[in-house]
């Protein structure tokens, strides 16, 4: 095997891990940090994708559309938290069922509004040559986006006042209220943050993953498994688990079939969970 081929496989593994990490970060905040099982996470991604699509079609540049999509999805998330999630804190399985219901409502609404097939946004395709092979430059760009996004989120949650207060509220809401933190407001903001990240993911991935009503289902499985495998040290865990699972699945997929890649992803998760039922970072001593 030539070196350029290996390099391409490596890069494409890294980029598909990046795609997974980008799609998972929102869930890492909502499920990993807040402990809210949001099965509609995939549909939040779809929500962002369609928002970006609609905004781009109306003539706004794609880069601005991505930001708009993130903000709109965050707002939508805030409403969902106020109307549904808030009543269900502490009732894990009920949250799961309700958000599942929500995911179906969003899916079907998307089918009704946009139909089941939508055109892409027609970004100019450009590729980077590596020896005899090429790799999409947008995919390489996504690798950078993933790195920037993870660092930004880490900064937000560890360095800013909001981040510290939010982490306190999530870790122990009773004690948080006992030092003056109004957990209700903070929880809405954090849920909105997670939703916004999902919306951002849907939008930024749009050139690589076209918007379809069912796109959420594909993401939600892997995102959940990644966060569950990640464990309590959410952000670092997510990056590690996402990197490992995403690239392993990609390697199998590039040598064999996508389905085989998916199956490997699933089997690997099962194996990791059997070894680390509470996630790979369960015994780690880190803050995020």
């Amino acid at each position: 095997m030539e070196i350029d081929y290996l390099l391409v496989v490596l890069l494409s593994s890294l980029t598909s891990a990046s795609v997974l990490i980008i799609a998972t970060l929102g869930l890492a905040v909502i499920f990993g940090l807040m402990g809210v099982v949001n099965l509609a996470h995939g549909e939040f991604i779809m929500f962002g994708a369609y928002t970006a699509l609609v905004v781009t079609r109306s003539g706004v540049p794609f880069s601005i559309a991505v930001i708009v999509a993130a903000l709109v999805t965050a707002l939508f998330g805030a409403i969902v938290e106020r109307v549904i999630i808030r009543r269900l804190y502490g009732r894990l399985l009920d949250t799961l069922l309700a958000t599942w219901g929500l995911s179906l409502v969003l899916y079907q609404s998307a089918v009704l509004i946009f139909g089941s097939v939508t055109p892409g946004i027609g970004m100019p395709q450009s590729n980077v040559r590596i020896g005899d092979y090429t790799i999409s430059s947008y995919m390489l760009f996504l690798l950078g986006v993933a790195i920037v996004l993870v660092l930004a989120l880490y900064w937000l949650l560890t360095k800013t006042g909001y981040g510290i207060v939010a982490r306190a509220a999530i870790q122990d809401s009773e004690t948080a209220s006992a030092i003056g933190i109004e957990s209700g407001r903070i929880n809405t903001m954090t849920f909105a943050l997670g939703s916004g990240l999902a919306g951002f993911a849907g939008a930024i991935l749009l050139p690589a993953v076209p918007a379809t009503p069912g796109m959420g289902f594909a993401f939600v499985i892997k995102a959940f498994l990644t966060v569950v495998v990640a464990g309590p040290v959410t952000l670092t865990g997510t990056v590690l688990a996402g990197g490992l699972l995403g690239s392993a699945a990609n390697i199998v997929a590039s040598f064999w079939t996508t389905v085989a890649g998916n199956i490997v992803f699933f089997m690997l998760t099962m194996g990791l969970l059997r070894l680390y039922p509470n996630g790979i970072t369960a015994r780690w001593n880190r803050k995020l």
């Binding site: 006042g161 510290i164 207060v165 982490r167 306190a168 870790q171 122990d172 009773e174 004690t175 948080a176 209220s177 006992a178 030092i179 003056g180 933190i181 109004e182 957990s183 309590p232 040290v233 001593n285 880190r286 803050k287 995020l288």
Partner: protein, 232 residues
């Protein structure tokens, strides 16, 4: 200044404390004594709005406090919960910062003050709170409560599982804050000596009601009462 009037409350339908009334003046340190299960923690949780109130009220300067715990903290009650409950995956300074930020105070000032009040936290400033020892966690919980700039500090069993040297240190700091800044303190304790080293006056709680009120010298001279309190 701080007053509980006819406090009656408990969990769901079970009433645990009944008609508890107590008051604490500015500059005063008051102890809340009683055996295991007498209802000390419940009284404190009542004051913080953390349990169901069936009757009575909590007030500062004659003004009744809102129901929300967070708002009570902002109104001037600093709270150190039983079992400390530091945020395990926040660093020591972040624990302090969270309280300061939540109450709208300057983060840097709060952090600096915490380290100067409690020098033992300095070497641990940026480690996770979960890796502190029990005594250090207790100190952190107090530093955190002080970061909300309270007018009254309420401590629930601050000596539980804390090594004696740190207990002494805690007592020293509380006494100093009381002396220098006029901080009022309510401390619920089983550790009689710790209480008496601080407080001039105590309420004795038994089976959810105030059984008696006594001054320090009354308790010190009454061996019977001492033994009853300690269950020894």
């Amino acid at each position: 200044m701080f007053k509980l009037t006819n406090a009656t409350g408990g969990y769901k339908k079970t009433t645990i404390i009944r008609d508890v009334s107590l008051s604490i003046a500015e500059n005063e340190i008051v102890a809340l004594l009683g055996r295991n299960g007498a209802g000390k923690t419940t009284v404190i949780k009542y004051a913080m709005g953390l349990i169901d109130a069936f009757g009575g009220s909590t007030s500062i300067d004659g003004k009744e406090l809102p129901v929300s715990t967070a708002k009570r903290v902002k109104a001037g009650i600093g709270y150190v919960p039983q079992g400390r409950n530091v945020f395990p995956r926040l660093t020591v300074l972040e624990n302090v910062a969270a309280a300061a930020i939540a109450c709208g105070h300057n983060r840097k000032d709060a952090e600096e003050r915490a380290l100067s009040d409690f020098p033992m936290l300095k070497p641990k400033a940026s480690v996770l709170a979960s890796s502190l020892s029990g005594g250090q966690q207790q100190v952190l919980a107090i530093a955190r409560a002080l970061a909300t700039k309270p007018r009254i500090l309420i401590l629930d069993e601050p000596t539980e599982g804390v090594q004696p040297s740190i207990v002494d240190e805690i007592a020293e700091v509380i006494r100093k804050l009381n002396r220098d800044k006029g901080l009022a303190v309510l401390v619920a304790e089983q550790d009689l000596d710790f209480c008496l080293s601080l407080a001039d006056r105590a309420y004795v709680l038994d089976k959810g009601v105030i059984a008696r009120e006594a001054t320090k010298s009354e308790i010190l001279s009454d061996m019977e009462l001492q033994h009853e309190l300690l269950g020894v």
